[in-house]
Symmetry: C2
Subunit: 342 residues, 2 copies
C-alpha cells in the first residue's frame, strides 16, 4: 500500500476522504493466489468488496468485485478477469465529484489515483453518503438564508449561531431598506390614495413566493445535475410561461377580492374601484413573472460565476423582488389611476 501523506491534500478533496486500507493484487496472480493474498493482508482492509489490480509501479490497472473473484475458477489469472475499464477518482478532486460518481456508478467503493495513475487509496460508499448529507444540509441552510453551520443545530453555540444568521439578515435588511426609499418616492400618490398602500405587502410578497418556488426547483436541479447551465434558455421559457399563468391566476383572485369587498359594501374603494382592481391584477402578473424569472435565473448566474447557487436563498429572492415589486406596483397604478385618483 502507498504511504501518501493525506494531510497534503486540500480539506475538501477526495484525498482527505480516502483510506489507504485496501487490498491490491498483481495481474499475474492466479485467483487462488489472490484469495490467499487477501486472507493474509485483508484483515485491516476497510472493505474486501472490491479488490484492486496494480502493476509493479503501483499503477491502477483495474478493480475487481469480490463477487467476480469468488465466482471465477481458481486457476485463472487475475489478468483474465480484468478488462482494464475502471472508474477512478482523482485524489485532488473535490469531494462533491465523488458523490456524483458514486451515484452514477452504483459501486460500494471506488479507487483514488494520483495524477500519474498510481493508486493512492479508496473511498467507500458510507463516507460518500456522509459527504452528500453534509452538502444537502449546507444547501438547505443556505437556501433558508443563513450561512451553513459547521456543527449541528443542537451543538452550535448560541453566539456562533447568531453570527451565522446575522450576516445575511443584516444584508437583507439593508437591501430591503430600498423598499422604504421606493415607497417614499411615491409618497404623494399614497397620500392621495391611502388604499393603494394597503395592497403593498400582498402584492410584493406574491413575487417573493413565486421566486422562492422557482429558486428551490432550479437550485435542486442544478445540484442533481439534471439541469446544466447551457439549458438556461429552456428554463427561461418554462418560467416565462409559468410566471404569466401563475400571475394571471393571482391577478384574477386579486381583482375578485376588490370586486367582492366593493359589491358587498365591506369596503368602499370609491368610483374608481375597477381601476384599482386592474392596477392590482396587472401588477400581480408582472411581479409574479419577475419573481419566477429572478428566482430561476439568479441560481444559474451564481453557478456560472462560480458561486454556490443555493446562495439565492428564499429571503434573498424575496428581498430583491420586494424592492422591484414596489416600483412595478406604483408605476402600474400611476398608469391606470393618473387623472382619476392620482
Amino acid at each position: 500500500m502507498n504511504a501518501n501523506n493525506q494531510q497534503t491534500y486540500n480539506d475538501d478533496s477526495i484525498g482527505r476522504l480516502m483510506t489507504t486500507e485496501y487490498v491490491a493484487v498483481k495481474p499475474y496472480f492466479t485467483v487462488e493466489q489472490a484469495l490467499c493474498h487477501i486472507r493474509k493482508y485483508g484483515r485491516d482492509s476497510q472493505t474486501l468488496n472490491v479488490i484492486y489490480v496494480v502493476d509493479n509501479q503501483w499503477k491502477l490497472i483495474d478493480d475487481i468485485r469480490i463477487k467476480e473473484l469468488i465466482l471465477a475458477e481458481p486457476q485463472k489469472t487475475i489478468s483474465q478477469l480484468t478488462d482494464n475499464r475502471f472508474v477512478a477518482l482523482k485524489a485532488t478532486d473535490d469531494q462533491e465529484v465523488a458523490v456524483k460518481v458514486f451515484q452514477d456508478e452504483n459501486r460500494v467503493a471506488l479507487p483514488v489515483v494520483e495524477a500519474d495513475g498510481t493508486l493512492a487509496g479508496i473511498v467507500t460508499v458510507d463516507d460518500v453518503m456522509d459527504v452528500a448529507e453534509e452538502e444537502n444540509t449546507e444547501d438547505f441552510q443556505k437556501f433558508g438564508g443563513s450561512e451553513g453551520l459547521d456543527l449541528s443545530y443542537t451543538k452550535t453555540p448560541i453566539f456562533q449561531m447568531v453570527k451565522k444568521r446575522a450576516g445575511w439578515l443584516i444584508a437583507l435588511f439593508l437591501s430591503e431598506m430600498l423598499t422604504a426609499s421606493a415607497m417614499g418616492h411615491f409618497e404623494a400618490e399614497i397620500s392621495k390614495a391611502v388604499m393603494l398602500a394597503l395592497f403593498v405587502p400582498l402584492i410584493i410578497s406574491s413575487g417573493g413566493n413565486s421566486g422562492s418556488q422557482a429558486a428551490s426547483l432550479i437550485i435542486r436541479s442544478l445540484a442533481l445535475e439534471e439541469l446544466r447551465l447551457r439549458n438556461w434558455w429552456f428554463v427561461m421559457k418554462k418560467e416565462i410561461i409559468s410566471g404569466v399563468l401563475l400571475g394571471s391566476i393571482l391577478g384574477i383572485i386579486g381583482f375578485l377580492r376588490i370586486f367582492v369587498w366593493q359589491e358587498s359594501g365591506f369596503y368602499d374603494y370609491g368610483t374608481y374601484w375597477m381601476w384599482i382592481g386592474a392596477s392590482v391584477a396587472v401588477s400581480l402578473i408582472f411581479i409574479v413573472l419577475w419573481g419566477t424569472l429572478a428566482g430561476s435565473m439568479i441560481p444559474i448566474v451564481l453557478k456560472r460565476i462560480g458561486l454556490d447557487p443555493a446562495t439565492a436563498s428564499a429571503p434573498f429572492v424575496a428581498t430583491l423582488v420586494d424592492v422591484t415589486g414596489v416600483i412595478i406596483y406604483f408605476t402600474v397604478s400611476a398608469v391606470f389611476l393618473t387623472g382619476k385618483l392620482l
Copy 2:
C-alpha cells in the same frame, strides 16, 4: 430464495425497494461449503458483499460480510462465525427508515424480514442512496413553497408544474390578503402619518427572513434526527435568545437609518422622528423574535401531528409573520405615537 409477491407491499415501503436476489446459507455449512454454494448460486445475486444465514424455516439468523467468510478457515462452520446479532429492516416499514438505518450502520446491504422473522429480501446501499436523494429533493422543493414534483424539473410538463406551484401560491395569496385587511384596520393612522406605511415592507419582511432561517435549520435537524420532538423547549430557549439578539441588531440599524436620514436632511420625519425611530426599532425586535419562534416551532408542531415539517416553507412562514407583523408594527406605533402624530 423466497418467492414473495412484492406488489403486495405499499408503494413507499421497504418491501418495494428490496430485491430477492441474494445468497443464503445454512448455519451447519462449513465455510468451504458456503463458498461453494455461493459459486453455484451467486451469479444472479445483486451483491455478494453480504451473505445471509437462515434456518430451515428461512428465518434470518445472521448476516455475514464476505470479508469474514474469506478470512475464515475453510473447515469452520458458519455457526461459528455468527453472533446472532444483526440489523434487519421490516418489509412493511417506510423507505425513510431504511435511509436512517443505513446511515447509522455503515453497511452496503441490509436484510429485510417479514413480521415473523423470515428473510424476504435485501436492500442495497445504492437503492437507498436514490431514496435519500428523492427525499432531499422533496424537502427542498416543499421548503421552497411548492409541492414536490414527481419528475425532475426538466421532465415535468409545464401545466403539471404550474399545478404543483399554483396550489400553495394561491393559499399563500389568500392568507396574505389578511395583511390588506390588517392595514385597512389602521387606515386612519396611515392617513395621518403616511411615512409609517413606508416602513411596512421593511419591517414585516425581516420577520419572514428570520423565520425562514430558523425553519430551515430546524427542518433539516429534524430530517437528520439530530433533533427530537422532545427537545422543543431547548429549541425555544435558543430561538428566544437568537430572536432578541437578531431583532435588536436590526432594530438599532433601523433606528440609525431614520436618524441619519433625518440629520442629513435627506428626509424629514418631523418633530417626532425619534418616536418614529423607536416604533420601528421596537417593532423589529418583536417581529424578528416572533419570526424565529414561528419558524422554529411550526416544523416541530407539524411533525408532532404527523405532517411533513418541510411544509413549513419559507413563503409559508413569511406569510404568517407578515400578517402578524403588520398588527405588531401598527400597535407598537400607536403606543409610541398616539397624541403625537396619531
